[in-house]
Symmetry: C2
Subunit: 343 residues, 2 copies
């Protein structure tokens, strides 16, 4: 009997915020496992802000998801049946399997996970793409030095939380910006940032100036919009701004009202000799071995902690994703698609 | 009898475009030459867009000129009398002597010029600060590769003209943006750029798109404003944008009208993995020896040509400077303060 796979497809390109009707839940029969292939059952599926960009048809770094295609995502899965020499039944693997319950894979881009290092869900979190994004973006582009002031937006998120903790390990003063008071408290008390401000404040700019008395040397940009604008007047000479994400802007439609702040930015780039640089982690995968070594050791020693926010059931992925874009998650957002055999 | 020095001081901070009343011409008696000092007669004085920034009191990379201080400038001068062991009467030197006819100098920051290499005026032009700005900004930040499309604003200016010619030597397709038709013709016919467009055009954006069929890999920013905005939709993945100057913006007062283009830029930085970086040439002076070697050889071989725009008499410096900010000069703008003994 054929294996049934439930999957979530892009039904329509969102205009502004995504809504339920932009997604479609479909159940299909999978073909038998062919030579060189394997059947995988998805256990955990990542939800990340970048997925919003893939839903648009705009020019971007990645080919957009086509209407009717399954939404893409990093996942952790168990091999149920294998005719692929690299994998055997029972292996826990990670790969870009997408928003679905099962898949027939030829093993390309799939990597086996050692479940003894850390919980397997971390392969799509702190030990996977978001963790590595933080590591490479901060170290390679942000170039933090001891004594620097580092500001991190989306500070309780999957990337921001790691950026700030690495910043502390490197001797920076770290200031987070997050949403709710609960998140801000977590960022200071659990993650060890020096300060955390709320972007919901009416006067973020002066609050930020108040805690960044020596200016800002590194701003790790995850959100865009008002946080960026609040940081801009505070940047020091030679500040570095890794541009990692712009979650506040992804669903924006049309022009932004004036005044036009572009000339203010370019003037600051010139007079302060700033470096702004965008990056995409998948293009920097050569850094994975060093990242994995460092991060595993920091997790083992407790120097870096992480928080996961689980949502049960694939059918709840669209709702959770819409919440992610509004900052409703608290920690790395993960869909638990099926039971984790290692817990 | 004391030597008389005529000098131009900052009389008032300009609001918007500088005007004559912002400058004051003063004649002073110089003291006698003391031990370790020398008397220099200025021959050539540079006029550069960056001087506009120094007239403001805003936070910038350099201490502003104080009201009543002599305006700063790079100069070429002849030593008239010397009690400094490093220099002797008749030496031709270059130093930051400012907008004046004579100076008593202790030799700090002063460098002797060899008049047999090139005309001595080039020490404040192609073989001096503007030439080196082009060299370092393009090679170190712009990182041009053969086959890249390089766009250069202020293409007939002291920096832009050199940027484009070095770009051609490195195998780039080079597109200039300048003002008048005469300048555009010069940029293509004399400097060898592939194209040159006028920023006076009503439709720079589509004209630029038309000549940059393969997009833009390097944009050397000298002007800000509409040229930057026309380039932005054309940038390729991994484009580099050295931010060298923003001449169109220096005298702007107040906010800029919307729409706000900042989010458009940050989105492009992210999706195209752009690098924008500002720089100040005086902080990169370690590159001078290599620059001087390369540039001297390119000038000698005729691979790089240059154009100087002389204005006679220190009293005409304010008028010429005001014209520079409006693009009225054609080539490197130089005040001929007194007779050149080497010509």
């Amino acid at each position: 009997m054929a294996i049934k796979c439930t999957q979530i497809e892009l039904a329509a390109r969102p205009i502004g915020d995504p809504k339920h009707s932009d997604f479609r839940v479909v159940t299909v029969d999978l073909p038998p496992v062919g030579d060189g292939e394997m059947l995988c059952r998805i256990i955990y599926q990542s939800l990340d802000p970048y997925m919003r960009g893939r839903m648009d048809d705009a020019k971007s770094y990645a080919v957009p998801v086509a209407i009717g295609d399954v939404m893409g995502a990093g996942t952790v899965a168990e091999v149920m049946e294998s005719k692929n020499a690299r994998f055997k039944e029972g292996d826990i693997v990670t790969g870009m399997f997408g928003w679905r319950t099962h898949i027939i894979s030829d093993g390309a881009g799939v990597r086996k996970i050692d479940p003894t290092i850390a919980p397997i869900s971390t392969a799509i979190g702190i030990l996977g793409m978001p963790g590595m994004t933080a590591y490479v973006g901060l170290l390679d582009i942000g170039e933090p030095k001891a004594g620097d002031t580092l500001v991190v937006s989306a500070a309780s998120g999957a990337v921001g939380a790691v950026v700030g903790q690495i910043g502390k390990l490197k001797g920076c003063k770290v200031v987070g910006v997050a949403g709710s008071q609960e998140k801000c408290d977590y960022v200071v008390n659990e993650l060890g940032f020096d300060h955390c401000l709320s972007h919901l404040s009416d006067d973020l700019e002066s609050e930020l100036a108040n805690v960044c008395k020596d200016g800002v040397d590194v701003y790790f940009e995850n959100v865009g919009g008002k946080v960026f604008e609040a940081v801009l007047p505070l940047v020091n000479s030679f500040a570095r701004i890794p541009v990692c994400g712009l979650i506040s802007r992804y669903s924006h439609v049309g022009n932004f009202p004036g005044p036009n702040l572009l000339p203010k930015l370019t003037r600051s780039i010139l007079t302060n000799r700033l470096k702004l640089q965008g990056f995409i982690i998948t293009e920097r995968w050569d850094r994975f071995p060093e990242f994995e070594k460092d991060m595993s050791s920091w997790i083992k020693s407790g120097e870096i902690v992480y928080k996961e926010d689980f949502v049960d059931g694939l059918e709840n992925a669209p709702e959770a994703f819409m919440g992610l874009l509004k900052g409703k998650n608290f920690g790395k957002l993960i869909v638990r698609t099926s039971e984790d055999p290692t817990r």
